[in-house]
Assembly symmetry: C2
Homo-oligomer: 332 residues x 2
DNA sequence: CTGTTAGCGCTTTCAT
DNA sequence: ATGAAAGCGCTAACAG
């Protein structure tokens, strides 16, 4: 059986121009819309374009226009990160990038050489950086680049770079308000929190959450009990048990520990405590473990999308850098 | 507190040339190694390069050299695919791509417009396509592109494109050989297989596995029992139970169903049947559910890496397209 | 071993 | 509303 060699011919902008009986520049302008083109010409051009299957050469375009129509997504693939959540982020970024007519280059280097290569080499118009730590060596490098970048997470010193994150402080306040309304006045409120290691690393979001939680409790005349907790269901159970020993008045509990929640949540319910969980939305997809629960979902996808929006704002030269915290909402 | 505006200056190849007191082309050749350069000049050039923090403009380079140093990784983000496995693939691809001095553009479009854009627009030197179905509309498009691509999975008609996959047939034979040695001669051998839906879709790997399994059994004078199975542990248990009802002679069982394995495997053990599991390596990381088991691991990462190697072979104009099946191995 | 130079295919001033 | 032409920063012939 013979197979026809039908590798499609590549045609440049000038072939399109010839076919449409206009000059190359007119085709370019028709494509970019940066100049009014008569309806008739537009028609002929677009006809020519899809007759030839024309697609502008990305490199040439980048060279001439100083714009690559490509974004970098930086995801250090270190162990111990939740792949589901990561993919949610990525999906948000990828999808929204396409909405802005951009493709996405993914970097997984753990060092910062990739940033330099991609930035200095002008392969991208901007960068979205995931998994940012409080003092992240990459921030230095990013701040030097001509391209804007958006960090997902808030480091100690953003050095003028944009940040997007979930508003953990607001989430804590929201939860405390809710728990305050659902528990006997004066009873203590507890926070089943991130593992001690997370606090030791000085991870900003955990600190922000804890601070806001304690403050909100005190404002309502509630005692605040913070229980750091290892990321396993068993530890979650244990944490709640410890809570019950520490106080004889079962109050409410805020659970912010994805992996411990499956243990802590039912345990709280059994003990007759009101509970609110803060958790990534992906996990919410499954069947809710134990009837209707109060949860404050974190949509990684939405955060990723927001990051791209901010980034494109800066790329398009309108926006300035800033910090955007995504408002929490409470659902059952 | 004031912050110094120290956005690094961008310098072109000619600035490097000036600083190193050579011509631009010499710098270019020094970088590409396509021409012998005296040691002394090399030194001055590389000194100049890192004094200026020079990084070649990717677009210009692509325009002039017809090479982008970028690969596309195509991953349709449809639901029902295992994220862990996907990330393993991706990690393999990303890492190996860097070994070949290439970056990776990730496409998640479900349609084939992305392929066309990236291919016709010459944004990449080649494409790795995941999650290929037996009759995949993307194959048509890929076959027209000037860039080579390699499919992960083997479709009915690869149309001259390269394919990489795990050798499921060989895995079945390996498993049968093992089970044959571990069970009473003449006892039937069973295959706890993929869900019916997978067979209905005509998914090639499932068919190849089943065919080889049945044949290998018959060669050894064994009855072959095939039990399609839904992807849940419970279904796995049920499948084994059904097996025990169907025959009074407990033989051996080959389990090829990632999600059912956690149920089927212990059930087989309890019933005193020998078992072998074919499963993605990522799942193997966790604690083995029930002592030492026989497993034939599939390393998604290795497959991804192999795909990139094949692709780069073709990009570098040496290699020709072909099908590569990764040999299975048996471990405890 | 090194330099000169002509493009690569597009965007974007200038002109008209 | 449209054209002509000058680059964008690099690579790869051609020349020595």
């Amino acid at each position: 059986m013979w197979r026809v060699e039908s590798r499609v011919e590549v045609s440049g902008i000038s072939e399109v121009a010839r076919l449409a009986k206009v000059s190359p520049s007119t085709v370019s302008y028709a494509l970019s819309g940066k100049r009014p083109i008569s309806e008739a010409t537009k028609q002929r051009i677009s006809a020519a374009i899809d007759e030839l299957g024309y697609q502008p050469h990305a490199g040439a375009r980048a060279l001439a226009s100083q714009r690559t129509r490509t974004l970098a997504l930086v995801v250090p693939l270190r162990s111990g990160i939740d792949l589901n959540v990561m993919m949610q982020f990525a999906a948000g970024v990828l999808t929204r990038a396409r909405d802005h007519d951009h493709d996405v280059l993914v970097l997984t280097d753990r060092d910062e050489t990739g940033l330099a290569r991609v930035g200095r080499g002008r392969m991208v118009d901007g960068l979205v950086v995931m998994d940012v730590e409080s003092a992240d060596p990459r921030i230095q490098v990013l701040a030097q680049l001509r391209q804007p970048s958006v960090l997902i997470g808030v480091p100690d010193d953003p050095m003028g770079l944009s940040c997007v994150d979930f508003d953990f402080a607001a989430a804590a306040r929201l939860a405390v308000t809710e728990l305050d309304g659902r528990t006997r006045a004066g009873a203590p409120l507890a926070l089943v929190a991130s593992p001690p290691a997370v606090y030791e690393r000085g991870t900003s979001f955990a600190l922000r959450l804890r601070g806001a939680f304690v403050e909100a409790c005190h404002q309502r005349g509630r005692e605040a009990i913070v229980v750091p907790c290892e990321p396993t269901p068993a530890s979650g159970r244990a944490a709640v048990a410890a809570l019950l020993e520490a106080t004889d008045q079962p109050g409410g509990v805020l659970i912010h520990n994805e992996l411990a929640a499956p243990g802590a949540c039912p345990a709280a319910r059994e003990a007759g405590m009101a509970s609110v969980c803060i958790e990534p939305e992906s996990l919410t997809d499954g069947p809710a473990p134990g009837g209707d629960r109060l949860v404050i979902p974190i949509s990684a996808q939405a955060i990723g999308a927001a990051a791209v929006d901010m980034l494109m704002d800066q790329v398009e030269d309108g926006g300035v850098a800033g910090v955007q915290l995504m408002a929490p909402r409470l659902t059952r």
